[in-house]
Symmetry: C2
Subunit: 514 residues, 2 copies
């Protein structure tokens, strides 16, 4: 078999059996080899940002990596923004980036560029230099990914096409570290100190098992719980202990952490401001408060929380969120009422991909008591993650409805994800929150203290002139679309969209908050 | 004034008065400052690949840089593919990439990443570390760009917002080197040696002045002329000396260079294969042929060619292409006949942005005798350059009709350029060649010698299922669209589109060649 065949066989043997791709000439042997390994599913996207965002969404839900197939430096470049989000989510991904044949690189052909330098900015990278070494390099890349990284394997065309490849055995995946008893005991002392204390949950600390333990700890010690601002995946809804997320704005976090003396990190990082603002603090730990680490993000966070809970709350059961939905609203859509439509009608076992940005401010409240669901959020701030991530989540969980709540400005970075949804018949209901502006920037323009807000500045934040027509956009890519201006229309259309198999899109005319 | 104001004033004073942007929070002071410098025009794009492609197209036509405004690492990442093309075109561009405030970077906030590493892959880079130094750094960036580079200035938010900025004077732009007389004389010896010789024209060697000199040389010495495969900008049509381009496929080049003993480079690089193929040569210089350099790409190529022409052809006038158009074809569209519609109806003084790829194989012949026009081509092989480059060309030359000939697969990387065309009322007629496949890859799959072409492989090269609807796509972004299935329809729609001001799009149903 050739290198490409050995590579794909190795990936499959290591459990990587989905490859999102946007290939070019240097990847043609990899593409040809797909037919020789039936277990590998190839999924085409029309743009690399869709490829990488889909791989992120897939792994967040499947808890194992997908592969991507990208075309040299420019292909990887187009995928970097969503790989940045994946890096922040600690999502395992195995990028296979085709490169020129080893002997061709010296000629500086038009597509030659420094692929390693690009890949290094998002994680692990290795260039495979021989067909004999390729499969072992691939196994190493999978293990690197399984350690919570974006791993990039650069595949020169001749390494791919040369005969003599042999599959390599999977490398044992890393096991999450379990924290020492001494750490657990020192954290128990903090929790029982009587001082105002917050436990901040992140990474796998926002999954159900960890939330149950954290809830028991809070009941027993009176500490407050928060989830990190942008969890990679948070389990919530009826039957799961509720937890409030730290706010996006520094002012919100300052309020949430008022008078706190201790912050215990369970998979989360110490809170910092998303951006810097003139005259405002970047470090959001209150003056004089101490930060204690129970578990690092890649540790076994649930184990650590359970170890603490078993000491401080051995006989306490977690308090679970009650089932409770908002009533269906009526009248013109507003930033306040559209979320109630989602809360009222969210289907069982849903996956919400949330890139609603400013329009989604009230979403967590409206969906708090809806049936148990997962929420995936924008971990790295690189917008254009919603539609692609919904693709990946739907591929990972074909039996679950995916609800993609998508701000209009952000949708336009990676809108061709709709085409992949149609091609693969993915069960994704996309609601585009169409406020026709970069609303977050209108807010930020004030917040950064920019003096002037003249017409040229405002023009750069305005998405009207011309208005985007998301129904036509969906139609152009084979996804059926409708438009809702009232809460009643949104409810009717959302119900119908969720019931029908395959993708659909609703353009919800929700005015801007600002 | 603050740093941002001083920066924009410095750019304008150095002749940079267009800024294509897709800003975020860290760029808000730059955005606010736009209103304080009336000479700077800000143009919004919905995706960074449109921003950078537009800057490339602008500078190729304006012969001076535009600025871009990009949001941290992910924003630059999204722009890298078209910056790669710009690097290969030696296009001057000044990227302004916003970054976190200098003191905020230590906190590793979600959007933190290694911007310098990304920027270095496409050219010059400098991070401005103080408001006092910012304007001088900007002047340096403009000069770096004017040397034929992509120059990236990283702008921390606090450097932008701090008061005390002062504009800096422009740095004198570099002057293209004029080759020594000794080089000219040695090249004359080669040209007059009687051996089979080719002059390969590149960079500014494909502009009219250089073409006139090269044509005189060819007449006097009998050498053959070729333009490089993918010129950044080539002037051609009636009244300009005609020149054949080197082919894209190695087999074509081998044929074009049969029995050649000398290759004289005038602004071009020595010919190499675009990709490597098993068992085929990468270096396309014929065995035993010698390569001679008359002018490097950044030299004054026209001066060098004129110096040679004045020695070998002092009394010879260039032979100019006669005006000659193909007849209007009829019947269903084919890869052969659609180009004749363009050739027959190309308006006066047009700019053709050519990303027609396989569908455009016969375009050069069909337009050879059309009215004088410029053609911009895909210099770096990073697809998705056509629509954005057309935006930039139209901004640079508002009085010239821009004809964007766009392959369907490539269109989907940067399709939101249509929205910017609508917003700015740009006079761009886009013809999408809709063959519903990555046709080039079907060809390449055979050419690389991939053994199997099973259904999974072919599926990754197929753009049907669902079919893309480019009329709906254009409509979604405020551009009027029509569809043509016959040559008569294409002619009618093309005529109407060219006559009407502002952008329009024609989806031409041209079947694939392969």
């Amino acid at each position: 078999m050739n290198g490409a065949q050995a590579l794909i066989r190795t990936l499959v043997d290591a459990g990587v059996n989905v490859c999102f791709g946007n290939p070019g000439t240097s990847e043609m042997h990899f593409v040809a080899a797909l037919d020789s390994v039936p277990e590998m599913r190839g999924i085409l996207a029309l743009f690399e940002g869709v490829v990488t965002g889909a791989a992120d969404g897939y792994a967040r839900m499947a808890d194992k990596p997908a592969a991507t197939l990208l075309h040299l430096g420019p292909g990887l470049g187009n995928g970097l923004a969503n790989l940045h989000n994946a890096r922040r989510a600690r999502t395992p991904i195995v990028n296979v980036v085709g490169d020129h044949a080893t002997y061709h690189k010296q000629f500086d052909a038009p597509l030659e560029s420094d692929i390693e330098a690009l890949a290094r900015t998002v994680g692990w990278v290795k260039t495979s230099t021989s067909t004999a070494a390729l499969a072992a390099d691939a196994a190493e890349a999978v293990a690197a990914a399984q350690a919570g990284q974006v791993a990039t394997l650069i595949l020169p065309a001749d390494v791919s096409w040369t005969e003599g490849g042999e599959p390599a055995a999977a490398v044992a995946p890393p096991v999450a570290r379990q924290v020492d008893e001494s750490v657990v005991r020192s954290i128990v002392d903090v929790l029982q100190s009587g001082e105002s204390t917050v436990v901040l949950l992140g990474a796998h600390g926002t999954r159900e098992r960890a939330l149950r333990a954290a809830n028991r700890i809070a009941q027993a010690t009176g500490v407050k719980l928060f989830a990190e601002t942008f969890p990679a995946r948070i389990e919530r809804g009826a039957g799961v202990p509720a937890v409030e997320r730290l706010g996006y704005l520094a002012e919100q976090v300052t309020y949430q952490l008022t008078d706190v003396r201790n912050i215990v990190l369970a998979g989360a990082k110490s809170p910092v401001s998303f951006f810097a603002y003139p005259g405002k603090a970047s470090d959001l730990v209150p003056d004089g408060a101490k930060v204690h680490v129970l578990a690092e993000p890649l540790d076994d966070v649930a184990f650590a929380l359970e170890a603490v809970a078993d000491l401080v709350a051995p006989d306490i059961e977690p308090v679970l969120q009650e089932a409770r939905r908002p009533g269906l609203p009526s009248g013109d859509l507003t930033p306040q009422n559209w979320v109630d439509v989602i809360g009222a009608l969210l289907p069982e076992n849903a996956i919400i991909v949330d890139e609603a940005n400013t329009s989604g401010l009230l979403l967590p409240m409206a969906t708090a008591g809806a049936p148990k669901h997962d929420v995936l959020t924008l971990t790295g701030g690189a917008i254009g993650y919603g539609l692609p991530t919904a693709v990946g989540a739907a591929v990972a969980c074909p039996d679950r409805p995916v609800i993609c709540l998508q701000a209009d400005g952000s949708a336009m970075y990676t809108s061709s994800a709709l085409w992949t949804m149609a091609r693969e018949g993915l069960n994704v209901t996309t609601v585009v929150l169409s406020n026709r502006s970069y609303a977050i920037l209108k807010l930020e323009l004030q917040r950064v203290g920019a003096e002037s807000t003249g017409p040229k500045a405002l023009d750069l934040l305005d998405l009207s002139r011309p208005d985007l027509d998301f129904v036509a956009l969906a139609t152009s890519m084979g996804v059926s679309g409708t438009r809702a201006s009232t809460a009643e229309e949104l409810a009717d259309q959302f119900r119908a969209a969720v019931e029908q198999p395959g993708p659909s899109l609703i353009e919800a005319m929700v005015p801007t908050l600002f």
